[in-house]
Symmetry: C2
Subunit: 160 residues, 2 copies
Amino acid sequence: MERITKKDRRYMQVAIELSIENIENGGGPFGAVIVRDDKIVATGTNRVTSDNDPTAHAEVNAIREACAREKNFKLDGCTIYSSCEPCPMCLAAIYWAGISRVFYGNTQQDAEEIDFGDKFIYEEIARNPESRSIPMRMIMREEALRAFTEWKEKEDKIPY
Amino acid sequence: MERITKKDRRYMQVAIELSIENIENGGGPFGAVIVRDDKIVATGTNRVTSDNDPTAHAEVNAIREACAREKNFKLDGCTIYSSCEPCPMCLAAIYWAGISRVFYGNTQQDAEEIDFGDKFIYEEIARNPESRSIPMRMIMREEALRAFTEWKEKEDKIPY
């Protein structure tokens, strides 16, 4: 990764300010900014409790907004600045979105100390489905495969 | 995990039907159903390309809808039936939502065969931030920590 520039610090500063303001606005202490070609495309804050949406983390919200603005489901070439190291959900969303670079401020350990720990989820994801703490079981695979067969045969699909 | 019941098969059948219908509706071949107390609380399908939202997987959409309906950011006691094994984003969302049980039809390998592979993301998540394929770097931790300190000191916060 190339060296950290003044601009990188400036965008991270915006993410940090969002994380602080968001506490006063009834959300969690997290903010994120998505930048393309030296322009802020979207910002996001943690709105889990205020929006009743467990997926409304700062990074996910910023990704959703950036994609809506760009009318695209991919964000290749974009950089995300997050006030905190992404949780596994946000990290996977970053991969699905094709974001090119990630900067973060607070670490997973810092988050753990204010009871926003995601270490447990990182550990669970690394396990086999059968040995996770939430019971997980495969059923009706043969029936479910029908959708995949139809997808495979469909000619005018949008792959991603 | 207790044995599979007729009801479990019936709900999975709904998820599978959604996954098949969704192909015709311009989405990906994935469907999910969230059930509480033997009632469907919400359903979801993959709307990534149709909604320009890389986070719009069937499970995430079902979780968001269930939470909106229940006006709660937690879904403890609910079961999710997904036509396919959840990707890391959806799996982490399931943990954040506190869902109690997961049934899935198609496996990760089945998804891989129709080019919806998430094995790569599972592998990346297990790595240290510095050794992931998307460059990830910590900057300005001291500044970012301010939000966490303010959060810690806030008295009327909603923890989760």
